[in-house]
Symmetry: D2
Subunit: 399 residues, 4 copies
């Protein structure tokens, strides 16, 4: 057995920006990064407050001297360390408005980046970031983490192989209830920045979760969007951004898609669903029970594809995205780690001076990030124009 990190022959070193006290996603990145024994968290700028940053370090077992007061300091000081003892990549787990400056600073110094979604504060930043990534030829992953589920990758591979025929209709809903009350008025960090336009951007639920739903549609079907009609709502009085919304998408091939997002549905937790209708078969999948996927064909018994690595019916990338035998459920962390797993492959190739895929990656990349930002921008634009159809295609995006 060769080292799983190939010729690099050591774990990849991660510097985390964001993720201080009260953060949920910082910890998720941490676990995802180390799960396969291929990465280690060695440095951090965990908070915009240097004191909080240092105070949070022990939780991540980051050595005090590598718990930095700012991301600028982290990048600067890490780059002064010996080549084999400094961070290989920066993970950006801050609120949205900080994604761009951090990612830019890292990429410009040649550091690989793993960045939370939505990619940036606005589309313009996203487009600029893509140019920086291209110029500096760094590995860049966006944690549209739901693409990491083995059965989502199975769906994508089955569709690419033509098993579903032509895709004509897609429905993806993302239903939550946690912002049913005005949580942002209490001291709830997660709610506070997500509903604050100065940190979150122009969209609330649509920026936070509808982008995931849209991303899944694009990732699995590969359908090229043509135009979109969107209706956003803010049901919780006084809230500054949408907490509910609905979009209809016309695809280039004549297909029709719908995306619904809610953060005000009582008791609904994280109910992201995907339904795909092809001329030969249909698919249904639900994030809260991610180890099963329904494949149906008229006149046949329904099929339940279980996450079952190595089974005759399991596609190659789906198999390569599993860690456990069938029936031993994998879930959110493992899917998240699958974004890292394939980004790590690219980082190792890059470290070895080898060519690595930048566009048609298994993990979501900077172009998928642009796709998401374009989606957000055009949803808001359409909604402001009374749900008018507006264009959705972006030249940079994955085909």
């Amino acid at each position: 057995m060769d080292h799983v990190n190939g010729s690099l022959n050591r774990k990849l070193k991660m510097g985390l920006v964001g993720g201080g006290q009260g953060s949920f996603i910082g910890r998720v990145h941490n676990i995802a990064a180390i799960l396969d024994n291929r990465g280690e968290l060695v440095a951090g700028a965990l908070s915009s407050s240097p004191e909080k940053s240092k105070a949070s370090a022990p939780f991540y077992d980051i050595a005090p001297e590598r718990a930095y007061g700012s991301f600028q300091e982290m990048i600067e000081k890490e780059l002064k360390r010996p080549a084999n003892d400094r961070i290989d990549f920066v993970t950006v787990a801050t609120p949205n408005h900080m994604h761009f400056p951090v990612a830019k600073a890292a990429a410009e110094q040649g550091l690989n980046v793993i960045c939370d979604k939505p990619l940036t504060f606005d589309l313009k930043e996203a487009e600029e970031l893509a140019k920086i990534v291209e110029k500096n030829k760094v590995v860049f992953a966006v944690t549209h983490n739901y693409t990491g589920y083995p059965l989502i990758r199975q769906a994508r591979e089955m569709i690419q192989a033509g098993e579903l025929g032509e895709i004509q209709a897609v429905r993806s809903n993302y239903i939550q209830g946690w912002l049913r009350t005005k949580l942002e008025d209490s001291d709830q960090k997660q709610a506070a920045w997500r509903t604050d336009p100065s940190k979150s951007g122009i969209a609330g639920a649509f920026g936070d979760i509808a982008t995931h739903a849209y991303n899944l549609v694009r990732y699995t079907t590969g359908l090229i969007p043509a135009e979109i009609s969107c209706t956003l709502k803010t049901f919780e009085p006084g809230r500054k951004l949408d907490d509910y919304g609905h979009a209809v998408i016309r695809f280039d091939n004549g297909g029709l898609g719908t995306v619904t997002a809610s953060q005000i549905s009582h008791g609904r937790e994280n109910d992201l669903t995907l339904e795909i209708d092809g001329t030969k078969a249909s698919i249904s999948w639900r994030q809260e029970e991610p180890n099963h996927m329904y494949v149906r064909r008229n006149g046949e018994p329904w099929q339940v594809y279980t996450r079952n690595p190595g089974a005759p019916f399991t596609t190659p990338i789906s198999s390569a995205s599993s860690r456990l035998p069938a029936g031993h459920p994998e879930a959110f962390f493992e899917a998240f780690a699958n974004v890292y797993r394939f980004a790590y492959d690219a980082m190792i190739q890059r470290a070895a001076g080898e060519a690595f895929e930048m566009r048609d990656t298994i993990y979501p990349n900077v172009y998928d990030g642009i796709d998401g930002m374009n989606f957000i921008q055009q949803c808001v634009a359409s909604s402001r124009e009374n749900s008018a159809w507006v264009p959705l295609k972006h030249s940079a995006c994955r085909k």
Copy 2:
């Protein structure tokens, strides 16, 4: 125990129009009508072909002399029979284009009517029919049969009692797959008339099934529609009517609704779902598992309301719509029969010369039928205008 048919003291007599060979819904009406031992099928005009009509009679155990060659003949000859030995009501189970003439003829002769949905061929007919019903003061039910499920009625009663708070968002999908291929080109009676604009009307999937979804939204929430934006598609080449579509509804109270209908989703059978978001609780229900309904509130365990007549949590009309103890599943026929059950109550009241409810009925009535026809008309209108918002409110409809 008094006779369940009250002072009438006998079963109600049914005359069936439509339902000849190859029909599915005629048989359903028959079973629904007799299930509670309160009705009997005694006469029929089962087909537009007199020969077929007579040939189909034995299947329904209709006596040869009461198997008529046309609905006109049935009405005429039945009315000549002694008062206690003729039909009390006419069930209309024909393709859509025949609903109006049959229902009109029956109502004008003072016969009660149970009519398939959508109510008529177009909205104008529906409006005219309502006037005839009002003038003749007959009992008139429309078989939006899914309202008959006990848990749908439970949802309605809970919402009316304020248990969900204000309703803000509703989603209803109706997903089928049986028209995935161009079945109408084969000798399939069900597919043939449903895809034929001369028999079905201006809409396909939206007339056939989206109306059910819309009806459930209206029946359970009572929300008043303001305007609608609709996008219809015909995915099967050469088909004359829509086989897929999507509508967004703005309600008077600021709420948002979505309705999706598909007949081209492989392997999907009759998957009608309903999700309702209120400020106090949310509800989810699925027709294919009709004996369970999820009620959720933030911070509490989910609740699964089972169909459980007499239980402390079961609402009165829901209890009155059940025939079996919990865990002994009831399904499609029983729900259908619940439309009949409550229409029968009204027929018996009418027969006894008592007042009976015509507007706020438990069963769907002629005004709900208008509501559905208005929905179809405005969906098609919106879709033709590039999904423009068009008004949806109709003055006649249930509030």
Copy 3:
């Protein structure tokens, strides 16, 4: 289309014994009998009290003159009516201790019988009844109604066709909660007689519901039982019969079966499950969601067989046991009616003087009834002997 009642050319006439006020199962028999328009309820001895019997008649729309004071009177007077205007069969819906006398009286007069389960009060009666049935050559069905579910019949046909290979293990549980409290001390008719050894027989939960589970095992797999070890419990203090129990069965072929029954499991409604392991495939089914059955094979996606009459994968008797297209759920009543459906076929053959199947019937017959009584007797015997293995095979039973 010929008359569905063949050369008989009329509905079969039913006389109901039992089913008076407070009865649940009488009503079920009634609906099952008429559901297909092939039977009608014309006479009844609805209660052991002549007054209650007559008072209950209007609920069933039984004419006053045919509401009899006793089953003896019903049989006697009905037989004096003209041949085409008297009952063709007697349905026995009384508590267990009355099954034998009623069924015996009917069969000896040449009347067909549909009898509730368990067949009789004890095994001896069951064996005697079988002889009477054989001698009088009447049609005799026992309402082990869960065999009527189309997918249970599908399982049986698939197993008979060898699709599951050799059957090695079977598990069937029947879990209820309604007797969690001592309901028999209140005025609850259902609970009262079921927990009274003078009416129910030697077993409680095992007589009432474990027999159904055992019957399903035998009906679907055809495995021949060799011996049984059983442990019965009475958890509710003061109750006279078992309300919980468990049995292990060794089959002739070396296979192993388990049956568990509970009436004390909080909130569990009528949760009858069946799991079958064959050398080629396994099957799982659950009564509370009867329209779906899982078929699994190692290395393949799971299959969900839906109730789907006419589909290529649906077996002939399963198709013939459905009334609605897939996705339009059928449930308890329809399954119950499927016992009647196939017993009616035999009654019509008998009426026409044709030969009819008496042993290998699609519906459960008198021999299945013996099988169930033998099961009850041997379970109690084993339990009394500290769960010792006791023989289970009975020479009369279906192979």
Copy 4:
């Protein structure tokens, strides 16, 4: 925020025995150990073959000099390292026959131990091991990992708090299909040792998986077993150990339990279920959908407890066993890591010279391991005596 490793102020260091090429469980231990950033894998004796051991090291990122040729060598050489730079604990992930010698060697040197289940090769070894643990006062955890699921801990806490009343009946099944064919004849490492009595011990399926089911019953309900009747089967011809079996347990309080285990059920993956009946409520849970647990009470809607840390209804240890908000599913790895999480707490206490719990631990301990070995021994004993009742209580076990 203090360091999550308290005054130890560093990660705990793990030495892994077993887990070489082809192992599944070694990798699971590794991920579980590091998931919370509190442990690191630094040394290994990964295979009984020194070459394989070294070859496997890079996969775990174990430095070559700490990839040892035998567990004896690992323990000896690690103990020569500086106190803060040597292993704190040994994880035993070998086939069963090696558990005892490895665990004994580690414990006798004062190293903490995390050991796979079943605890040892036979009961005698288990009893001896407990004495060694007691004498050396090391932390000792057994990876009955399913106890790590937050909702299993919730069930335990609810039962301890009396929310279910007295527990009367428990059913736990563990159904798999992977040994349906004689996989041990091919080159499948997992199958080979599990079906080999010289490595696995006296039981097959019952040693491998029924112990988990039994452990869950004991862990959640705390019921004290009195006696057991067991029937083991080997369905796959030529297999040396049981691949199917069934046990009935009588508890001290009069309650009844059943445990079924199968490895020959086609397509069944890892279907461990638990059903508990108390006098006040019942619980149902299923490992393949571990984030939901049904709690039922007569007369009330069913409740679905979701894994929802911090929610008002979530019990303390259940909350402390979660890492993600509700709806972000956790699964097998996280449950496994929860055994480590609480064992780590004890190791840190021990390292600080503090007292630590050894008997009533949240994680399964050496006494639970004895309980499991006693279960296996008595199951086999009963089965050999024609399913006779044999005693099941063991004085050492958790009450």
